[in-house]
């Protein structure tokens, strides 16, 4: 027996579709139009410039290119560092005990803070004169490694990546712990019977068995770090300092500088870049896991 679906069911989606269509999908389409103009955002008039904005963004905008380079450095450090750290912590805390429950809660804690709060914490850690990082180096007699951290143009973005990892590693640890709990205990028993040591157990049982969790962690971390905005703005100050520029802050800066049309063109490239990164990473995951 099949019953007809009541038409009233469609009405359930109407309020959400109206708001989401009107205030998300519609502006998303309008953005394409703004990108072909030199509009500043408030003047009554503007010129049509066609694809000029887009070609400028792609081919001769040094600030944009610098931001993109920073994005890629940040992405690489965060994805590698955060995935490795999250897996390490998960392996160490997967077994249930009072202590591990407490530590899991502690490691997850930074995730509930706001990006601006995390930015201030790390601003103080990195302060070249009064900061915790240099104070710690002094305390253990390693003061020759003192650094300017965020003040150092070439490496500033990498220190932001460290802050980002501190911020979200606990979140990804939880995903890994869920993955670890899916592994049947017998696999480890079998490996032990075969005389596998701890490292070999990890290499031949844990690592292949958490592949789906790894794919998830890498996918999410990739997107999250490519879109990072709040934390970087908090550390760079408003308006953002250019050594810390990534695409998201660059678009915001262009927009704040009343180049609305150009900023819209930058957003299109940004979106295309995210799509490309996601696609590449899906390809890589598929190749890696057959």
């Amino acid at each position: 027996m099949t019953r007809r679906t009541p038409h009233t069911l469609y009405l359930f989606a109407v309020p959400a579709l109206a708001l989401y269509g009107g205030f998300f999908l519609l502006p998303a389409v309008q953005g394409l139009r703004y990108a072909t103009t030199d509009w500043d955002g408030y003047s009554a008039t503007f010129r049509e410039v066609g694809a000029a904005n887009l070609t400028d963004v792609v081919s001769n905008d040094d600030l944009f290119r610098h931001a993109l380079t920073n994005n890629l450095k940040f992405l690489l450090v965060v994805v590698l560092g955060q995935t490795a750290l999250a897996l390490l912590l998960a392996v160490l805390l997967a077994a249930r005990s009072r202590g591990s429950t407490l530590l899991r809660a502690l490691f997850f804690l930074p995730t509930v803070l706001s990006s601006v709060s995390v930015a201030f914490i790390w601003k103080f850690v990195y302060d070249p004169n009064f900061g915790l990082a240099n104070a710690l180096l002094d305390a253990v007699g390693l003061d020759r490694f003192r650094s300017a951290y965020l003040g150092d143009e070439a490496t500033a973005i990498l220190w932001v990546a460290v802050a980002q990892i501190w911020f979200h590693a606990g979140q990804m640890m939880v995903v890994y712990i869920a993955g670890l709990h899916q592994i049947p205990e017998e696999l480890y028993d079998a490996a032990k019977t075969d005389g596998a040591g701890r490292w070999q157990q990890f290499r031949h049982v844990t690592w292949p068995m958490v592949a789906p969790a790894t794919a998830l962690v890498v996918a999410y971390t990739t997107i999250q770090s490519f879109k990072a905005f709040d934390l970087i703005l908090g550390l760079a100050g408003n308006p953002p300092r250019s050594s810390l520029d990534v695409l998201a802050t660059r678009i915001y800066a262009t927009f704040a500088n009343s180049q609305l049309g150009y900023a819209a063109a930058e957003s299109i490239v940004f979106m295309a870049a995210i799509a490309l990164v996601t696609w590449l990473q899906n390809r890589a995951a598929r190749l890696a896991h057959g």
């Binding site: 019953r3 679906t5 009541p6 009233t8 069911l9 469609y10 359930f12 989606a13 959400a16 579709l17 708001l19 989401y20 205030f23 998300f24 502006p27 998303a28 955002g41 912590l89 160490l92 530590l103 502690l106 490691f107 997850f108 804690l109 930074p110 995730t111 509930v112 803070l113 706001s114 990006s115 601006v116 201030f120 914490i121 601003k123 103080f124 850690v125 009064f130 915790l132 501190w166 979140q171 939880v174 995903v175 998830l216 999410y220 999250q224 879109k227 905005f229 709040d230 703005l233 908090g234 695409l247 998201a248 678009i251 915001y252 927009f255 609305l260 819209a264 957003s267 979106m271 799509a275």
Partner: protein
């Protein structure tokens, strides 16, 4: 042994900065720089008085509470209605409806924020808490739909059919069956949305000009401009902005982990 060492080091990496921040909010600038790790020699509440009065932080706190208190229930209601439709509609209409919201998951806020800014400005919704609530609902609806539909789709159709045989329409099935059974999922989504809206900086930064309409993250960001390296004042702002979330996390830990992780994995 190595296990304990690694865990202890990482625990310190989390705890030490937090202790320094909280301790620092009770110190003078000189005290903080002289001994960042030490207890405050002469603990002072001056920083709290300063940020609460000069920055009008109570007002800001109220704004944040209001924005979250309105945006989250509205998003949950609209999202769960869509999720119910997705779960109950025939295959193709369901897929299309779902795909429309999936677009919102793929498109980053930065790609839509500029035209949204223009649109909200024209409608007189910019620089208002109402506009902020509206944009919050709109940008998080896709995640809510994703989580809630994901849950409802796993339920057997018989559950609803039993109710419908008794003559109940979809509205009754939604209210009497779908909502009650999805409480855990709704709770997880709610927590994800609360954390997300409470901590959001992007939209307040774009939409709010009036200092009286700022939310906490925006007010915090303004501190930086105002106080630059007066860390005790910055730390005080961090404590005020974070304390409600940390207290809630202490009591609802498991829900927080479930909510943020579900949102993350799906968002």
């Amino acid at each position: 042994m190595a296990r304990r060492l690694v865990l202890a080091v990482y625990a310190l990496l989390i705890i030490v900065p937090l202790v320094v921040i909280v301790g620092g909010s009770f110190k003078t600038t000189q005290d903080l720089f002289a001994a960042p790790f030490g207890l405050p020699t002469r603990p002072t509440l001056d920083n709290y008085v300063t940020v609460l009065s000069r920055q009008n932080l109570l007002r800001v706190l109220g704004n944040s509470v209001l924005v979250v208190a309105v945006s989250v229930p509205v998003t949950l209601l609209l999202g769960s209605l869509v999720a119910f439709a997705v779960a109950r509609l025939p295959r193709w209409p369901s897929r299309i409806l779902y795909a429309v919201f999936a677009v919102g998951l793929a498109v980053p806020a930065q790609a839509v924020m500029i035209p949204q800014y223009v649109q909200f400005d024209r409608l007189g919704l910019r620089d208002s808490l109402l506009g902020l609530m509206l944009v919050n609902v709109v940008v998080t609806l896709p995640v809510a739909v994703f989580i809630l539909a994901g849950f409802l789709k796993t339920l057997p159709a018989e559950l609803y059919e039993a109710a419908e045989l008794d003559g109940a329409g979809p509205w009754a099935a939604y209210r009497r069956i779908a909502v009650p059974v999805s409480y855990p999922s709704l709770a997880a989504t709610a927590i994800f949305l609360v954390v997300m809206h409470w901590n959001d900086l992007l939209y307040p930064l774009l939409f709010i000009d009036d200092p009286d309409k700022r939310t906490l993250p925006l007010a915090l960001l303004d501190f930086q401009g105002e106080y630059l390296t007066e860390y005790p004042l910055l730390f005080t702002g961090v404590v005020v902005a974070s304390l409600p979330m940390i207290v809630a996390y202490a009591f609802l830990q498991r829900h927080f982990v479930a909510g943020i992780t579900a949102g993350a994995v799906k968002g």
